[in-house]
C-alpha cells in the first residue's frame, strides 16, 4: 500500500528513460509517454496525500533499501517521508507537470524540432527531481535531488533562444554556488550530529543541546543562503529573469511555477523540521533582519517588474516579488504567516502556471510577448485572455481567486506579529500588481498607444486589420491546459478551507505563536 510514495518519483523517472531510449526509434512516442507517466504520478501523489490525511500520525514513511531507522543517531540512508506539507507540495509538482506535459505538444515541436526525445527525457527527470525534493527525508539526498532538478533545468533552458545559452551559464554559476553552500552546511550538520536524516538531525540537536554550537549556527547560515540563492530571493535573483525569459515556452511553464516554490518548501522544511522553531527564530538575529530584507526584496522586484515591457520578463520579476512574500510569511514568525506562506506556495504555483501558459500561447500565436504586439487580443483570443487574466487577478489578490486567500493569511500574519513594514509592503506590491495587469488590459483593450495617442478611427476601432482581430484561438492542446489551470486557480480559491485545514494539521505539531488567545 504505502509504496505509492516511491512511484510518484519512479513513474517520471521510468518515463524519461523510455523517452530517451525509444525516442531514437520513433519521436512520436515521447509526448504520450510523458503524459502517461505524469498521469500515473499524479495518481500516486493523490493516493499518498489521502493516505497521509488518513494516517494517525499524518505522515507516510518509506525506507529505500529497507535499512533500519531505530539506531541513534539514525544511520545514513534514503528515507522518503511525506507529511501533509510534503504530500501537498508533491501533488502541486506532479499536477503542474501533468498540465504542462499536455500543453507541450505544439511548442516543443516548434521550438526544439528533432530534439523531442531529449527534451521530454529532461522534462520528466526535472519533475522527478522536484517531486523528490518534496518527499525526501534525508538532507544529503535533498542535495542530490536539488542538483538533479538544477542540472536538468540547465539543459531545458539552454534549448531556448539564442540568448538562452548565456542565461543558462549565469544560472549554472549561481545555482552551483547555492547548492555548494547548502552541501557545506549539511556537512557541518553531519559532523555535529552524525546523521543525515532530517528527523535524526533534529533529534540530535535537541538531545545534545547543540543550539549554541557555532558549527550548527554556521550550518544554518550556509544552508539558508544556499536556499535563498536557489529560490531567487532578491538580491540573489540575478539568474532568474533571463533564464525564464529566454527558455523554451514549455520550460518556463514548468520551471516558473515550481522551482522557486519548491525551494520555499525546502526553506520551511529546514526551518521547522530540521533546525527547529526555537533555533531558527528565537535564538538568532535573522528574525530581526529577515523581514526588512523581505521588504527590500518585494519593493525592488515589484519596481523592476513595472519597468518591463515584455510579458515574460514582467512575470519573471513578479516571481521574484512573490518569493519575497513567502519568505516574509515564514519570517514574520507566527501561525498565520506560515499558513499564508504554505498556501501561497500552492496558489502561486497555480497562478504562475496560468500566466506562463497564457504567455506561451500569446508567444505562439503572435510571435511576440512585447506589450506593443498585444492590441486586439481580446477579440482574437478571448478564452486565452480569460485564462491569463484569471491568473493576473489572482496575483493581484482579487477574490475569489486563490491569490486573495494567501494574501489574506499573509496580511493577517503580519498583523498578528505587528510587522507593519511587511504589511505596508504587501499593500504596495498589490498596487503595483494592479498597475501591471490593468496596464496590460489597457494595452490590449484600448485603441491608445503608450504615449496616449489615439489609434484607429474611434468607436472601438483598434487600428488593426480585420485579419488581426478575427477570432483565432490557440490550438486546443494549449488552450485546454490553460483553462484547466485557470479553473484550478478558482477552485483552490473557493475550496481554500480544505487545503488550509491540512496545512493547519501540519503546523499544529510545531510550537508557533498564534498571537491571538482563543476564547
Amino acid at each position: 500500500m504505502s509504496d505509492h510514495i516511491v512511484w510518484i518519483v519512479l513513474f517520471p523517472l521510468l518515463g524519461s528513460v523510455v523517452c530517451a531510449l525509444s525516442g531514437a526509434i520513433s519521436k512520436k512516442i515521447c509526448y504520450p509517454t510523458s503524459i502517461l507517466s505524469m498521469v500515473l504520478s499524479v495518481w500516486a501523489s493523490v493516493q499518498t496525500l489521502l493516505q497521509a490525511i488518513e494516517s494517525p500520525v499524518h505522515e507516510i514513511s518509506y525506507i529505500l533499501g529497507g535499512w533500519s531507522l531505530d539506531l541513534f543517531p539514525r544511520g545514513v540512508g534514503i528515507e522518503f517521508r511525506a507529511d501533509l506539507l510534503g504530500a501537498l507540495i508533491t501533488l502541486v509538482v506532479t499536477g503542474v507537470g501533468l498540465i504542462v506535459a499536455l500543453y507541450s505538444k505544439v511548442p516543443v515541436q516548434r521550438e526544439t524540432p528533432g530534439k523531442e526525445p531529449m527534451y521530454y527525457a529532461l522534462f520528466l527527470l526535472q519533475i522527478a527531481g522536484l517531486a523528490g525534493i518534496a518527499l525526501t527525508g534525508d538532507a544529503f539526498n535533498l542535495y542530490v535531488l536539488i542538483e538533479v532538478a538544477a542540472l536538468t533545468g540547465y539543459g531545458l533552458i539552454a534549448l531556448g533562444t539564442n540568448r538562452a545559452a548565456a542565461a543558462t551559464f549565469n544560472y549554472i554559476i549561481l545555482g552551483t554556488i547555492g547548492a555548494s553552500l547548502y552541501l557545506l552546511g549539511v556537512g557541518y550538520l553531519y559532523l555535529k550530529t552524525g546523521t543525515l536524516n532530517m528527523v535524526g538531525i533534529q533529534e540530535a540537536i535537541e538531545a545534545q543541546a547543540l543550539h549554541n554550537s557555532p558549527a550548527v549556527q554556521v550550518a544554518f547560515v550556509l544552508v539558508l543562503i544556499g536556499i535563498l540563492i536557489k529560490m531567487a530571493f532578491f538580491p540573489l535573483h540575478a539568474w532568474l529573469p533571463n533564464a525564464y525569459c529566454h527558455a523554451p515556452t514549455t520550460t518556463s511553464c514548468l520551471l516558473a511555477p515550481l522551482v522557486t516554490k519548491v525551494m520555499i518548501y525546502v526553506l520551511i522544511r529546514m526551518v521547522l523540521s530540521v533546525f527547529g522553531v526555537e533555533f531558527s527564530f528565537e535564538s538568532n538575529l535573522w528574525t530581526e533582519i529577515m523581514p526588512w530584507l523581505v521588504v527590500v526584496a518585494i519593493v525592488c522586484a515589484a519596481v523592476m517588474a513595472l519597468a518591463q515591457r515584455e510579458i515574460k520578463k514582467m512575470l519573471a520579476y513578479l516571481i521574484v516579488a512573490e518569493v519575497g512574500y513567502m519568505v516574509g510569511g515564514v519570517w514574520i514568525y507566527n501561525y498565520y504567516g506560515l499558513i499564508g506562506s504554505i498556501f501561497h506556495i500552492i496558489s502561486d504555483a497555480c497562478m504562475t502556471l496560468c500566466l506562463f501558459l497564457g504567455a506561451g500561447i500569446i508567444l505562439e500565436k503572435c510571435r511576440t510577448t512585447h506589450f506593443d504586439g498585444l492590441r486586439g487580443l481580446f477579440a482574437k483570443m478571448p478564452l486565452t485572455m480569460i485564462g491569463f487574466f484569471v491568473g493576473g487577478f489572482s496575483i493581484i489578490g482579487l477574490p475569489p481567486t486563490c491569490g486573495f486567500f494567501s494574501k489574506w493569511y499573509l496580511i493577517t500574519g503580519g498583523m498578528v506579529s505587528e510587522r507593519w513594514e511587511y504589511m505596508v509592503t504587501l499593500m504596495f506590491s498589490t498596487m503595483v500588481m494592479v498597475v501591471l495587469f490593468f496596464r496590460l488590459i489597457e494595452r490590449i483593450h484600448l485603441a491608445v498607444d503608450e504615449s496616449g495617442k489615439n489609434l484607429g478611427k474611434g468607436h472601438g476601432d483598434l487600428g488593426l486589420s480585420s485579419e488581426q482581430t478575427r477570432f483565432d484561438e490557440a490550438p486546443l492542446s494549449m488552450l485546454i491546459p490553460l483553462l484547466i489551470a485557470a479553473s484550478i486557480v478558482l477552485i483552490v480559491g473557493v475550496y481554500n478551507q480544505e487545503v488550509v485545514d491540512q496545512i493547519e494539521v501540519f503546523l499544529r505539531a510545531y510550537d508557533l505563536p498564534t498571537g491571538v488567545t482563543y476564547k
Binding site: M427, L446, A447, V500, V516
Partner: protein, 494 residues
C-alpha cells in the same frame, strides 16, 4: 425588539445568478442577432426583478431570508441574507435595470455604438454583483461582491476605448482598488484577527457592536479605514473617480453611477455604520463626529462645484456626489430615523437621478448637445424629456409630492433626534444649492428661446429612450405615495 423568523430560501442566490445566465445568452446571440441579444437582457432583467420583488411579502411579514453558499474560512460563511434595507436596495437596482435596458437599446442603437455585446454582458455582471452586495450577510461576503463590481464595471467605463476612456478608467480603478485593497482589506483583517479570538464572522446581525471591544483610538482608525475604504461612496476627497467615470456611455452613467456603483458604496458604508459598529457604539464612541463633518462638507462643496459645471453630465455627477453625502450623513447620525432616512434616500435619489441621466442622454442622442448653455429652447423641441427632467430635479431637490421629500424629511428628523441642529441647517443650505444648479437647466430649456432656431419643431429622442425616462419620472411620484410601504420594509413607523 423581537427576533425575526429566519427562512431558508434559495431565491436570493437565483437573483444573483440570473444575470450570469443572461450573459451566456447575450454572448451566444452576439453582434449578429442584436434583437435576440437585447431580448436576453430583457428576460434577465425582468426575471431578476420578479425574483427580487417576490421576496417583498416575506420581508414585510417580518421574516428574514438566508441562504448559505459556502464556507469562505472555517468560521466565516459566504452567506446571503435578505433584510429590509438590502431588499429595498435590490428592488431599486433590479427594477431600474429593466428601465435602463430599454433605454440602452434606444441609446446604443441611436448612436450606432460598437461592441454592444460586451456592453450588455458586463452590464449584467455588474447587476449580479450589486445584488450580491445588497444581500450580503457579513463583511467578507460584501467585500467579495464589492470587488467584483469594481472589476466588472471597468470595461463599461472604458467603453469608448480612446484616450479619454483610458484616463477615466485609470482614475476609476486607481481610486477604487487602492482604497479597497489598501484601506479596506487591513480593516477587515484587523476585525477578524483581533475580535473574539479570531473566530468572528462579522455577521451583520450577530456581531453588531463587537467593534466596541476595541480601544477608542482603534475604533476611530477602523471607522476611518471603512469610511474611505468604500470609495464608491464618493466621500470627498475620494470622489474624483466619479466625474472621471462619466466618459462611459450614458446608460452606464445612469444605472451604474447613479444607482448601482455609487449606491453600493453608500450601502456598504451604511452597513458598516449600522450593522458593524451599530448605532449604539457609533453614537457613544467619541470622535466619530468627523464622519458627519466630512459628509456635510462633501454635500456642500460638491454642490458648489456642480454650480459651476457647464457639461450636463458632469453637473449631474457632482450632484450625485452631494446626494451620496446625504446617505453617509444619515448613516453617521446613528439614530433610527436618520439611518432609515439614509436607506430611503438610496431609493429616492436613485429614481430621481436616473431620470436626470436618462434625459441628459436623450438630449445627446436627439441633438448631440452636452452643455447646459446649449439647451436654450429645447423645451419646445423635447417637451417630454425636459418635463421629466423638471420632475427629476424637483425630486432631487426634495419637494413634495415627490420621493425625494420623504427621505430628506427623515434625515432631518434623525438629526433632530440627536439634537444636531447644524445638520438640519446643512440639509437646508444644500437643498437651496440643489435648486440653484438643477432648476436653471429646465428653466433655460423652457423659457429661453434658442438663438439659432426661431421656431423649433418637435424632435424627441427615439421612443426607447423616452419611455424609460417618463416611467422613472412617474416613479418619483409613486415613491412618495408608497413611502409607507418602504418605511415598513426598513422597519420604521410611518
Amino acid at each position: 425588539m423581537n427576533t425575526p423568523v429566519i427562512v431558508d430560501d434559495i431565491r436570493p442566490l437565483i437573483a444573483l445568478l440570473v444575470p450570469w445566465v443572461g450573459m451566456v445568452g447575450i454572448i451566444w446571440a452576439g453582434e449578429k442577432r442584436p434583437n435576440l441579444r437585447e431580448l436576453f437582457t430583457f428576460i434577465a432583467a425582468s426575471v431578476q426583478a420578479a425574483v427580487v420583488l417576490s421576496l417583498v411579502p416575506v420581508i414585510l411579514g417580518g421574516a428574514i431570508i438566508e441562504f448559505h453558499i459556502w464556507q469562505i474560512f472555517s468560521y466565516v460563511p459566504m452567506l446571503l441574507r435578505v433584510d429590509g434595507p438590502g431588499l429595498l436596495f435590490a428592488c431599486v437596482a433590479s427594477v431600474l435595470w429593466i428601465a435602463t435596458t430599454l433605454y440602452s437599446v434606444g441609446y446604443m442603437r441611436g448612436l450606432h455604438e460598437h461592441a454592444q455585446t460586451r456592453f450588455y454582458s458586463f452590464f449584467a455582471l455588474s447587476l449580479s454583483a450589486t445584488m450580491g452586495v445588497a444581500f450580503s450577510a457579513n463583511l467578507l461576503t460584501i467585500y467579495f461582491f464589492y470587488e467584483m463590481l469594481s472589476v466588472s464595471t471597468f470595461p463599461l467605463v472604458t467603453h469608448m476605448q480612446d484616450k479619454e476612456a483610458r484616463t477615466g478608467g485609470r482614475t476609476y480603478l486607481g481610486y477604487l482598488l487602492f482604497t479597497s485593497l489598501c484601506l479596506l482589506l487591513p480593516a477587515l483583517s484587523w476585525c477578524y484577527v483581533w475580535l473574539d479570538g479570531g473566530h468572528l464572522t462579522m455577521d451583520f446581525i450577530e456581531d453588531v457592536g463587537k467593534v466596541g471591544h476595541f480601544g477608542e483610538t482603534t475604533q476611530i482608525v477602523l471607522l476611518f479605514l471603512f469610511t474611505f475604504g468604500f470609495a464608491k461612496a464618493g466621500l470627498m476627497p475620494a470622489h474624483s473617480w466619479l466625474p472621471g467615470a462619466m466618459v462611459a456611455p450614458t446608460p452606464v452613467s445612469a444605472l451604474l453611477h447613479a444607482v448601482a456603483v455609487v449606491k453600493v458604496g453608500v450601502f456598504c458604508v451604511y452597513r458598516v455604520y449600522a450593522d458593524v459598529f451599530g448605532a449604539d457604539v457609533l453614537a457613544n464612541m467619541g470622535g466619530e463626529e468627523w464622519t458627519m463633518v466630512v459628509a456635510s462638507a462633501t454635500i456642500l462643496i460638491s454642490s458648489l462645484i456642480a454650480l459651476s459645471q457647464d457639461n450636463l453630465k458632469r453637473r449631474l455627477a457632482f450632484s450625485t456626489i452631494g446626494q451620496l453625502g446625504y446617505v453617509v450623513l444619515g448613516a453617521a447620525i446613528a439614530t433610527d430615523r436618520g439611518q432609515g432616512g439614509a436607506v430611503l434616500h438610496i431609493a429616492m435619489h436613485a429614481c430621481g437621478k436616473i431620470t436626470l441621466f436618462f434625459c441628459a442622454g436623450a438630449i445627446f442622442v436627439a441633438t448631440g448637445k452636452k452643455y447646459v448653455s446649449e439647451l436654450r429652447g429645447l423645451g419646445r423641441k423635447m417637451p417630454l424629456t425636459m418635463g421629466a427632467f423638471m420632475i427629476g430635479s424637483l425630486s432631487v431637490i426634495g419637494l413634495p409630492p415627490l420621493g425625494g421629500f420623504v427621505s430628506k424629511w427623515y434625515l432631518a428628523l434623525g438629526a433632530l433626534d440627536r439634537d444636531a441642529m447644524w445638520v438640519v441647517v446643512v440639509l437646508l443650505i444644500s437643498s437651496l444649492l440643489n435648486v440653484f444648479y438643477l432648476l436653471p437647466v429646465a428653466v433655460t430649456a423652457f423659457f429661453r428661446s434658442s438663438e439659432t432656431e426661431k421656431d423649433p419643431s418637435f424632435n424627441e429622442a427615439p421612443w426607447p429612450c423616452v419611455v424609460p425616462l417618463l416611467l422613472t419620472a412617474i416613479g418619483c411620484f409613486f415613491l412618495f405615495f408608497w413611502s409607507d410601504v418602504l418605511l415598513q420594509m426598513i422597519g420604521l413607523q410611518p
